[in-house]
Amino acid sequence: MIRFLLGLLLVTLLQTTLAHRVGVAGIRPDLYLLFLFFLSFRVRSEAATAMGFLLGLYQDAFSGAPLGLHAFTLSVGGFVLTGVAEGVDASRIFPRLVLLALSGLALGTLAQLLLHFFRLDPPVSALVTVVLPTALYTALLGGAVLGASRLKAALEVRL
């Protein structure tokens, strides 16, 4: 639990202070989703759901989004990802990246639907201009993190 709270603090600090520096055309990776994605391979479904809820609340609190928007999407994300993660070979990078990109797309679409439901009316084009690039960028960053951890493990074995 302490490790999760420290991770939550670190992700919030990184997302609010540094993520915009690596942004491309205003699109930044979603570190909250990335953190939840890695958690979903390590914790049980109910824990991932609760963690997704808390991560989402923090993401909403530090954005212009209505409080509860990402709490909703990341709760669903935590619940679904733990179920899907059981069927994914954790030793292979590519399937995990595809899962990460798909979850980014699905949760982004869910956020778009919720915004529409609450009359914030994002244009349909936001699916292409916000949801898709965010999902791809997050997956790309996830690939870099997985690749780096794989490289580190390989170096440790050699040494």
Binding site: L9, T12, L13, Q15, T16, T17, A19, H20, G23, A25, G26, I27, R28, D30, Y32, S45, E46, T49, A50, G52, F53, G56, L57, Y58, Q59, D60, A61, F62, S63, G64, A65, P66, L67, G68, L69, H70, A71, F72, S75, V76, F79, A111, L114, L115, F118, R119, L120, P122, A126, T129, V130, P133, T134
Partner: protein
């Protein structure tokens, strides 16, 4: 019994509770943010704000040290360049002083009020929006520094946005590029009015410009002063493209904001006008103030 049921269906129960609470929070904000949502959000922000302020202080000090070091290395060349610039500026100041005196004379002749001066609070940007959907920033001044909801925020380059939430020690500012933001605008040359709205990117759009207005690329866009939040005459940006659709009643113009939001580190909150009360909170009912 109840515990047994909970343990058996705990996955579904936890998911249902999380979704229900999230949905409830969103529902409570549809019309106006309630005290419960405010309380939760303040609690969440306050747990991270000390770390954000610490980070801003450390990076600010590091940045200043680096800038000082670079300045020292270039001080001689810089000195010569500044001497030349100072000479040119002295001449410019003389001309402005002339123009100022003329302006004062003409104002007296026309019986116009003197230009307004604002009371400003300087604040540091300590965090940026966590999503790609919205465009907000968090500043390190809040209710203790007389920052209130709906106060305009500017920088030395132009308009930044307005305060949307105030907490002790921090405030959330909605940038003019936020998709929910709208600012009354005035084209400086044409004197045509419109409405600037954000478009999720780094740019914004002026909507509802009259078709007869001859908008040109490069035209300056200022705040119109209408709407009761932003003072008139603050630079918003410059026109980069004009869009006229056949059959449309209005034309639109894409604008490049004068403020570089990506590099913005300090902002100024307009808390009032010298010699009068807070100008821009006028028209805001007391109940909307937080």
């Amino acid at each position: 019994m109840l515990l047994r049921v909970f343990l058996r269906y705990r996955r579904t129960v936890i998911l249902s509770v999380a979704l229900l609470v999230s949905f409830l929070f969103m529902t409570l904000q549809v019309r106006e943010r309630g005290p419960l949502v405010d309380l939760v959000e303040r609690g969440l922000v306050l747990t991270v704000t000390p770390f954000l302020k610490l980070y801003a202080a450390v990076t600010g000090t590091g940045s200043r040290l680096w800038v000082n070091y670079v300045d020292l290395r270039n001080v001689r060349a810089e000195n010569l360049r500044l001497q030349e610039e100072a000479a040119a500026l002295r001449e410019e100041v003389r001309r402005f002083a002339e123009a100022g005196q003329e302006n004062a004379r003409l104002r007296r002749l026309l019986d116009l009020p003197e230009s307004r001066e604002f009371e400003l609070v300087t604040a540091q940007v300590i965090a940026k929006d966590t999503t790609n959907w919205f465009k907000t920033i968090l500043i390190n001044k809040g209710s203790e520094a007389a920052v209130r909801r709906n106060l305009p925020v500017i920088s030395t380059e132009g308009l930044v946005g307005r305060v949307v939430e105030v907490m002790p020690g921090t405030a959330k500012v909605q940038l003019l590029t936020d998709p929910v933001s709208s600012v009354g605008a005035l084209l400086q040359e044409q004197r045509a009015t419109g409405l600037v709205t954000g478009d999720r990117g780094q740019s914004a759009t002026v909507k509802y410009l009259p078709l007869m207005a001859e908008v040109r690329v490069g035209d300056a866009v200022l705040t119109s002063g209408m709407g009761g939040i932003f003072p008139k005459g603050i630079l918003i940006g410059t026109v980069t493209a004009i869009h006229r659709k056949s059959g449309a009643l209005f034309q639109e113009a894409a604008i490049q904001p004068s403020v570089n939001f990506g590099r913005m580190e300090e902002v100024l909150v307009i808390t009032g006008e010298r010699g009068s009360g807070p100008p821009r909170a006028r028209g805001v009912p007391p109940a909307a103030e937080r």
